[in-house]
Symmetry: C2
Subunit: 288 residues, 2 copies
């Protein structure tokens, strides 16, 4: 008999993955098969094939990205800052072990170097081998994989990157310190004097305090800051926010020049639309 | 011992509502209490109080609207057409038994008459009494409740309404015929010569064929047609589409004059942004 982690159950011969969100909301995905399942020193790493969302990356029982909707998050976290910056050459991605953000960034032919700092090598290995719908089996020579703690890595950098993308998981466990003020300050220091940083800043429905905090740090540290949104069906609440901080360039999406990119979600219209926020989110952010 | 319908279960002393989507995806909401539960001649009507989404209206086990996110759907399905029409006076709502769309429409002081045709009186009664977060206990004298089949009702109307809002449930059971060509043709006939119709047109991820069909009918029948989107966290996939058809007025959201309205989601920015679509949805619609 197979043994599964607690979030996987066999019911009447079918496999179900249960994502338990604060024991108040549970989402059960019917699973075709478990493709990969292993404990790393940091977390449990699992790739399954589901009926509705195709292949999924699961860390400690939480869905991180899927073959069906992973591109939305990854296109938005990379193409928005890379389009707002007029000539990005060297960029840093912190987190993003599924390789989706790096894959999207690599579509920008202007980029010369993409440093990708991920704390858990197993996530990258598993994603590159078993989740190519998201990772694209990323083997671009401009991508420089560095398996270390992003917080320490960035502390030692100064005036080095045009764009920094912080593609963290939820603010629990390994990613907790990625939501603290010091980290935001180090990111600013690691950016060139006209650099742009982007942070995933959680749900505008369920994590309003965390979003407010991220926005307030960014607003304090950067001359230009803004929140943009995308829909990520497999994240609780569906809506997801990103917060951007820019040291020199204005955030003028209507003036940005979108290069030719093969995308499924992002385009010139979405770049404009993603900064147009609903009334209660405007109200929340104006309190800062 | 209490008996519950199959979608409600007691586990370790806690109540859970399970929404089963095609037996591939299940969402379990932790429930504080069942407020109302009764079988109407058409469907099972239930109002529960949940931890994450507050009060919820459940029809035959499917979540229709909630206190936390119901306003998004209701604001978008009503304020978008009512803002694009320059001087709406008499409007018709088909469906919308939770009264949320009528409540939003009633915020437009220019309106003189709001006919609301709902097939199931029990849904309106239960929503007005137990789900006032959505219904607002709607008692505006301009709202004219008509409890009958919307399909038959609209067949006998001609050149009568400035705006028609089709706020149907999913295309199964009572609402199935609201997705057929004849119904769309009758809606057009019931509109004045400069009228605007809006239809909820399902998920752009899970119901792509239904959305394509709605858009193709609207495109065929109306000189102007377009798809707009909103995020509805409690609908599968989070993203939701609406399709609009207009007999005379151009769909120019950037030129529309949004009247002062007390809203939580809709505003001038959202009116612009909701018509800006992601690339794969543009591709899908351009096949029509």
């Amino acid at each position: 008999m197979k043994t599964y982690p607690e979030w996987l159950k066999e019911v009447d011969g079918s496999l179900w993955l249960t994502e338990d969100d604060r024991s108040l909301l549970k989402i059960d995905y019917k699973i075709k098969e478990v493709i990969f399942s292993k404990q790393s020193p940091l977390q449990h790493v699992m790739i399954v094939d589901s009926y509705d969302f195709g292949k999924m990356l699961i860390l400690d029982g939480v869905v991180q990205t899927t073959a069906v909707d992973g591109h939305i998050y990854n296109e938005m976290i990379s193409h928005v800052p890379l389009t707002l910056h007029p000539h990005p050459k060297k960029i840093l991605i912190i987190g993003g072990g599924d390789c989706g953000a790096a894959r999207e960034a690599a579509k920008h032919t202007s980029l010369e170097q993409i440093d990708m700092v991920e704390i858990d090598e197993l996530v990258v290995k598993a994603s590159k081998e078993y989740l190519q719908e998201v990772s694209g089996n990323l083997s671009d020579p401009r991508v420089n994989f560095i398996f270390t703690d992003g917080i320490k890595f960035v502390q030692e950098k100064e005036n080095e990157y045009d764009v920094i993308i912080v593609d963290s998981s939820d603010p629990v466990g390994p990613a907790e310190a990625l939501f603290e003020y010091d980290f935001y300050a180090h990111i600013k220091q690691a950016l060139k004097k006209d650099g742009i940083a982007v942070f995933q800043s959680q749900s505008p429905i369920f994590h309003r305090e965390m979003l407010k905090q991220t926005y307030s740090y960014t607003k304090e540290l950067y001359p230009g800051s803004a929140v943009f949104q995308a829909v990520v069906p497999t994240y609780p609440g569906g809506m997801w926010t990103f917060t951007i901080g820019t040291k020199r360039y204005l955030i003028e999406p209507e003036k940005a020049n979108v290069p030719p990119l093969e995308t499924k979600y992002f385009n010139q219209d979405i770049l404009k639309g993603c900064f147009l926020l609903q009334q209660d989110l405007k109200n929340l952010l104006s309190q800062e």
